[in-house]
């Protein structure tokens, strides 16, 4: 039996074991996100508020960085467009 086949069997056994865990309600309730154990309590509200905030944060950070880079790009391209116009004005001024 090849190593690949043995690895596939192990992965399948592990996957089935993990799926079997979902059938045990106590294991599902142990997680505050599942909403089983802590839902409706103050602790649950605290955990959920915190989780929503932390889920949103990577998007906020990446969005802020992308916004900053876009702002710099637009400002730089605006200055490049303005620069030749100023040059023409200064030539007219010399004349």
């Amino acid at each position: 039996m090849g190593d690949g086949v043995r690895m596939m069997r192990r992965c399948r056994a592990l996957g089935m074991g993990m799926a079997a865990l979902l059938l045990i309600p106590a294991a599902g309730h142990a997680c505050s996100v599942c909403g089983g154990a802590a839902m409706g309590t103050d602790a649950g509200t605290g955990f959920n508020t915190s989780l929503f905030f932390l889920i949103a944060m990577p998007y906020v950070v990446v969005g802020a960085i992308a916004g900053w880079l876009l702002y710099r790009y637009w400002r730089a391209s605006g200055q490049r467009r303005k620069a030749p116009a100023q040059h023409v004005t200064s030539l007219h001024h010399v004349e």
Binding site: G46, F47, T49, F53, L54, M57, V61, L69
Partner: protein
């Protein structure tokens, strides 16, 4: 710098996340027997810190025009406003400690001193950075075309200033 600021933002997100667990996981906030935080004084302090972002912006605009005097003036006022912010925060902390509100006063004290203290340390670091670039500005090290160190310092200053209204709203007003 952007990656560093992103990492800093996630660091504060972790601390704020921990605060939210305790704040919204508690039926009464502040917990019984704990003092109310000085909202009025800290509100004025918030305005001082926000104004420092404006003076920092003026300093950066001055060096883009090649105005070194304006740069030095802007950096000096920004560093002064940052120092005033830290001084007022320190004074309020001393008053709270005298009241018996310390780091070990339950989750309320622990989250307050950790969150606000870490931000204060960041402002302190930013003020030191400002003083370093101020010395550089006085020594004519920056020009209209060469001022990358100033831009980075400005970005960091904007970060610590922008963070404060969020912390103030969460810790003092919520």
């Amino acid at each position: 710098m952007l990656i560093f600021l992103g990492a800093e933002a996630m660091f504060f997100a972790g601390l704020i996340g921990a605060f939210l667990v305790f704040r919204f996981g508690s039926a009464t906030w502040p917990p019984p027997g704990q003092p109310y935080l000085p909202v009025g004084v800290t509100g004025v302090n918030t305005i001082i810190l926000l104004f420092s972002a404006y003076t920092m912006g003026r300093a950066l605009r001055a060096i883009r025009r090649g105005d070194r005097q304006g740069l030095v003036r802007g950096l000096l006022v920004t560093a002064l406003l940052g120092t005033i912010f830290l001084g007022v925060q320190g004074y309020e902390w001393i008053r709270l400690v005298h009241f018996g509100f310390t780091l070990s006063s339950g989750t309320y004290g622990a989250t307050f001193y950790t969150l606000i203290g870490v931000h204060g340390l960041h402002v302190f670091g930013a003020v030191l950075w400002l003083l370093v670039v101020l010395a550089g500005a006085r020594a004519h090290r920056f020009s209209a075309t060469r001022h990358a160190a100033l831009t980075l310092c400005g970005m960091y200053w904007y970060f610590v200033v922008a963070l404060w209204p969020l912390l103030f709203t969460l810790v003092y007003l919520s």
